[in-house]
């Protein structure tokens, strides 16, 4: 499948190229426009820094305190019930809260079980079928200073649960 990989690698240059060419030939002062937009990025980045600190500190504490291990131990019977390796439980719990944590854990699972084993496949599917839910929610709303989020969290968590169930089911059904 090297063709697909090439398409993937080409996505970014193609998008940037299209934006630039279209802008240039429509008579936009491309560099000036770029600078004006990029300047906004500074404020936006600084604006989400407090949110990032709060989130990353909390996730780090959950992992270091052993709370995550405890939760995984509680989730193990569920994993056995579903007929999957209990080693997948930490990934299911990490995925919504920590992007870097869950990719590191996925990598360790792929190395241990092999990427083409059933566990390796479930891990691959699970890790790539959703975003880091809490990161997305806190950063997106943190950037616009909302405190009450109405039904955002339950809706997003329902999505995560669906992804979890479907990852296992899809790999079990289609290999």
């Amino acid at each position: 499948m090297p063709a697909l990989e090439r398409i993937g690698a080409a996505a970014l240059p193609v998008i940037v190229g299209v934006i630039l060419l279209y802008g240039f030939f429509r008579g936009v002062d491309v560099f000036d426009a770029f600078l004006a937009g990029a300047k906004e990025g500074i404020g936006t980045s600084l604006g989400i820094l407090p949110t990032l600190i709060g989130l990353i500190v909390a996730v780090g504490m959950v992992r270091a305190s052993g709370l995550l291990d405890l939760l995984c131990a509680l989730a193990e019977p569920l994993a056995q019930l579903a007929g999957v390796d209990p080693e997948l439980a930490p990934l299911a719990l990490l995925r919504p809260i920590s992007g870097s944590g869950s990719s590191a854990f996925t990598l360790s699972l792929l190395e241990r079980f092999g990427p083409d084993s059933e566990t390796g496949k479930i891990a691959s599917v699970l890790a790539s079928s959703t975003e880091t839910t809490f990161y997305a929610i806190t950063v997106y709303f943190g950037a616009c200073q909302y405190k009450k989020l109405r039904y955002t969290v339950p809706a997003a968590l329902l999505g995560d649960m669906t992804a979890l169930v479907l990852s296992v089911a899809a790999v079990k059904l289609f290999g």
Binding site: L4, E5, L12, I19, L20, G23, R26, V30, A33, F34, L35, G37, A38, G41, I42, T44, S45, I48, L49, L52, I53, L55, A58, V59, G60, M61, V62, A64, S65, G66, L70, S103, G114, P115, G120, K121, S124, L126, S128, S129, T130, E131, A136, I137, Y140, F141, A143, Y146, R150, T152, V153, A155, A156, G159, D160, T162, A163, L166, A170, V171
Partner: protein, 199 residues
Amino acid sequence: MINYIWFGMIALSILCASLNGRLDQLSAALLDGASDAVELSIFLLGSMCAWLGFLRIAEESGLTRLLARCFSPVIDRLFPDYRNDPDIKGKICMNVTANLLGLGNAATPLGLSAMKAMAEKSPGALPSRGMILFVVVNTASLQLLPVNMAAMRASCGSAQPFGILPQIWISSLGALLAGVAFCKLAERRQERVRREGAL
């Protein structure tokens, strides 16, 4: 909600660490986490500025409006409040396109730009239904080509790095549909509650 979750994460961690005798690790994690966050935001600063720069070029040239027109059948249905707002629709489309192509680093800056534009349209203490739906769509992050995962699988010696593509589509599309369905039902319920309150 986030208040309770954040409080719960930290309070339970402290409780758990004191029972486990892992208070040293907990203190280290707290300080490391704070500096990791600063490192991450410096790392993000560059891509944030670059993508918002390219977004501005695309907006000034009318490319985002063009994209918005192409996506209109879907976007108008999902976000009816912004039907007549090509700017917001354009930003939403740029974010969705970045997500579909697996460009996570681009999706966040483009998404934040869309959120800010939507926030300006609906002042008040509560986020609008469009903003909530937009965030939920982003948490599901439907990818057509999960390039990073394929690279990770290839580096572990997979015979078929992209072999799990259909499974990822099924699972990710399912998550997206479930989240969107929940939002639409919640929107309808809140609308009804509001109407009954007004009577």
